[in-house]
Amino acid sequence: MGLIRGAVGGLALAALFVVMSCQKETAVPQATPANDLTVAISAYRAYAADQIDSLVAATTDFARSVTEGQYSKARAQYAPARMYYERIEPIAEAIGVLDARIDARESTDPEWTGFHRIEKFLWSGVADGSPLPTIIKSAATNLVQDTKLLRAKVESIELETADLITHAVELLNEVSATKIVGEEERYSRTDLYDVVANVEGSKKIFDLVSPALQSRDAALHAKVAAAFQALETRLAAFRTAEGYLSFDKVSKDTLKEVSRAVDALAEPLSLLPKALVPGNK
């Protein structure tokens, strides 16, 4: 009986795959000048370059404060500088090794460098003017170099419409699996800055493809737009005069609600290539 059930299950699964492959064949309207996605892609490339320009500038200021021993100033500069990175993180991931150098979480690896290496030092109770360990000094120097390298490499990155949507979804994945449980900023507790920046980066992509999506699948567009709005409303509650609430000031229930709002948005968002990518590879 088990085998029969297995066979039936197998057939059902096979049928499912047939359906899935048929879905992939669905014809997509040809791009017209009005909703040409190449415009969206180059606009996104420009946005990424712009964010990284700001990242380089903000990181340079941050690194200077660190090396000058102005740790309180550096602590205030840390999260806002990171937001430029968090908005375009999938770009850095696509480039490869740079993401690991800029944004690696704490590890026992002696080569561990980047923002979080410095974060751990800054939030270890250091007073302004106390000595700067060599390892932190070189982490600060590396960080500026690596953001500059990222800026240079972004020009040559290959981007297609499907990549854009993948990035938009990945930015939300960042939030729902790890940032919302407070894994990213374990010392500074500035996790909500990252969360907001990830969502902003994702929204930017959605805005860029919006005209095309609206003309090709208005229902999907409306669904995603509403889900973005629902999430943004929740995030707006985290805003403070200086920036965003500290992670440990937010209740567990609220965080869970945000995670669920992210899931509710990311699922329809992942369907965008159905409408936007001609002849799906």
Partner: protein, 407 residues
């Protein structure tokens, strides 16, 4: 068409005969399938090797880790002796504990498996490295192969699922039989051991014969395709069984079990494109074949390139990295788990209860796992539990688990 009544009758009879024949065929087929689907319902606990290693994976599992609450060799020995007796009874479908007790005391056996078949129950016992600290006078007997697993980059270990003095993998086709067994072991051990963690799994599953189709994990991919052939004694001696010359004589005929609780980010996986899912694994989702191959069990060719000179199997895919040069082999026994929701996110707390048996964890499991730090699959998974147990050799009738250790 005009058909005479005689002809109609004849044709009718033919149809009747045909349907009788077909019915018989269907019945025979059903009977055959039924017979095949009932797997071995009893595995003798005693024997050359412990069961639950080479024996085909049953549908349900519960893996339990215990800590000893007393010190001294006698207490460890007594637990293993009592568990040996219980394991033999349980695998034969017999109640444990004292029989014919007066109704003024609790029954010896808890009773929930009464009348049930043993459902192929197997119990596989092992010792964690912590047993070889100072508490039991066994420090000198710690096998070199029973290493402390290193920390891997994608580990986010939760102490609730790590380590343990004693480990047991209980498998059967009936989850009530499985629970009954673990409950019995815990009850028998009261006052000497406490449960450290318990993890439940259902069939994913990795077959232990090379001609069966591999089960699918919760990502929808076949998991454990490259398992070595358990019917090949030479291969098993190379891959699974600890040998006389391996440095720990008491482990000869035993093996080392790695248990890893691999959380899958189900919601994230579900919203990644079909193409990305396949590129992540390096195999076709439906057939299980590696890119460039046709069938699941076809050889993996990591060098095959497409027209643009790119390797068909991406170099950062799970298959490419897990395989490496294809030198290291392990015997997988994978189960899926679903443990409700992650209370922090409201997402599924689900994934793969990875288990592998190997003769030498360092040169087999660790070698493979160390290659996975840049695995594309890491975006969708994280290891939250980890344990390594030295699983005893088989127990001869009249002997007890780990007897060689106390000689």
């Amino acid at each position: 068409m005009i058909v005479s009544s005689g002809a109609r009758y004849l044709r009718h009879r033919k149809i009747i005969l045909l349907s009788v024949g077909l019915t018989a065929l269907v019945l025979v087929t059903v009977a055959l399938l039924w017979g095949l689907s009932i797997q071995n319902d009893q595995y003798a606990f005693y024997g050359e090797h412990q069961k639950g290693i080479l024996t085909p994976p049953q549908r349900q599992t519960m893996v339990a880790a215990f800590d000893l609450t007393q010190v001294g060799m006698p207490v460890l020995k007594s637990v293993l002796q009592d568990w040996t007796v219980a394991a033999d009874l349980l695998t034969r479908g017999q109640p444990v504990g004292e029989a014919n007790l007066p109704s003024s005391v609790p029954p010896g056996d808890t009773g929930e498996a009464v009348g049930l078949s043993p459902a192929g129950l197997t119990l596989t016992f092992g010792l964690g490295a912590s047993v070889f600290d100072g508490r039991f006078g066994l420090a000198a007997k710690r096998p070199a192969a029973l290493i402390d697993l290193p920390s891997f980059p994608n580990d986010r270990l939760d102490t609730r699922f790590v380590g343990g003095d004693l480990g047991v993998v209980v498998c059967a086709d009936d989850s009530q039989v499985v629970f009954h067994a673990v409950r019995a072991l815990a009850r028998i051990g009261q006052g000497r051991v406490v449960l450290r963690w318990v993890q439940q799994g259902f069939q994913a599953a990795s077959p232990t014969t090379s001609d069966t189709k591999t089960g699918r994990n919760l990502q929808g991919f076949r998991d454990g395709t490259v398992n070595p052939d358990v019917t090949d004694r030479t291969v098993m001696n190379e891959v699974v069984w600890s040998q006389a010359g391996d440095g720990a004589p008491w482990m000869e005929g035993g093996t080392y079990l790695v248990v890893r609780r691999i959380r899958m980010f189900i919601e994230i996986w579900d919203r990644s494109s079909f193409g990305d899912q396949e590129q992540t694994i390096g195999r076709a989702k439906h057939s299980g074949a590696g890119f460039g191959a046709e069938y699941e069990k076809d050889a993996i060719d990591l060098t095959k390139k497409d027209a643009n000179g790119k390797t068909l199997i991406p170099s950062d895919s799970h298959v490419a990295l897990a395989r490496g040069a294809g030198k290291e082999k392990i015997l997988r026994r994978g189960y899926s788990f679903v443990d409700g929701l992650d209370e922090r996110t409201g997402q599924w707390d689900a994934g793969l209860l990875f288990m592998s048996f190997q003769r030498d964890p360092q040169s087999q499991f660790v070698a493979i796992q160390s290659r996975l730090s840049n695995d594309k699959l890491n975006e969708y998974i994280s290891t939250v539990g980890s344990a390594l147990f030295a699983c005893f050799p088989g127990v001869p009738k009249g002997g007890f688990l780990g007897q060689q250790l106390f000689n």
